[in-house]
């Protein structure tokens, strides 16, 4: 079986996903693009969080099932990642309630959006090329113009911390990393 190669910042066709346009094969192909793009990230994101609560395969299948069932409520394809994470967190919370497992309160983990943003910024800190662009839109209202430009250089322009430091006249790449950590900390607060 051949997997569809993942694009870095793909655009997805919402009317196709919602079944409002195209024939069946085109709609299925668009859903498979979505799956190919997000599945590795979901697996990575929930791999640790589901540990001891949910069998990862079962959780991922349930996330995709609920996404397919509720897709007509999706109003923007750019919200896909946040939505998938929210569904997964809802399922984990359900399971925790059922099992009454004593663990880190979900309030401390944050909601889907907060988790998604934190994951996004965390990825940037360690590997800018592996980050998601979708969440930039969610972040825009929380950032100053200077921080916005900084994140765009890292994410959209795909510069390294060294290149960003040179572009913004920061002393070192470490200064760039420290700025990113300050942004994470401020958003977390």
């Amino acid at each position: 079986m051949s997997e569809i190669p993942s694009e870095r910042f793909p655009l997805f066709d919402l009317p196709l996903l919602r079944g409002e346009q195209g024939d069946e094969s085109v709609r299925e192909a668009e859903w498979e693009r979505v799956f190919a793009h997000f599945q590795p990230r979901l697996s990575s994101y929930f791999g640790r969080r589901a540990d001891g609560i949910y069998v990862l395969d079962d959780l991922l299948q349930e996330i995709w099932l609920r996404a397919c069932l509720n897709v007509r409520t999706l109003e923007s394809a750019s919200a896909l990642w946040t939505w998938l994470v929210t569904i997964g967190n809802n399922l984990l919370r359900d399971e925790l309630r059922r099992k009454k497992v004593e663990t880190v309160p979900l309030e401390d983990r944050g909601d889907g959006l907060a988790d998604g943003i934190d994951e996004f910024l965390g990825n940037l800190e360690h590997a800018p090329s592996g980050a998601d662009a979708e969440l930039l839109d969610d972040l825009r209202g929380k950032l100053t113009d200077e921080e916005w430009e900084f994140l765009n250089l890292l994410c959209v322009d795909n510069l390294t911390h060294e290149e960003v430091a040179r572009r913004l006249n920061l002393s070192t790449a470490m200064a760039s990393r420290q700025r990113l950590r300050r942004i994470r900390q401020r958003i977390a607060e």
Partner: protein, 152 residues
Amino acid sequence: MKHGMNMDQFRKVKAQASMVLDLRRQAEAVLARRPLRTFDGFGHFLDAVLGEDRERTSALARTVRLPLNTIDQLRASELDPFAGPLEEIAYLGYLLGIACPDFVRLASTDHGRFARHAATVLARSGVGAVPEAPERIERLWTRFEEDQATAL
């Protein structure tokens, strides 16, 4: 790298969801011909929607995690929805696209028949002692709606 689920598994999940969505459309078609208030309980409505389609009924059963024979019992009005697995049964109603108050009303009609029967045959059986069921269904419905993208 293992990603936990492959494309073949996704295609099966997608096909299962498509069959459930077909049933939702079937429910809309049923309600276009006949108002919901004319159904004599949730089992009656469920039977009208499912018809003879065993493949889609099986997909629905897998989705709500109910045995197929439980769904058969519901549609034959042989199971009190308030005495059964309430979360799974309420999810059935949610997936078929009916509103929470309508589901509560229909399920209460089914329950009323069992409660009357219990009152005459098994007065102390405990059947019918589920006054909290409507409130619980409302809470469950709120949870189901949290999976909608509009809840973000």
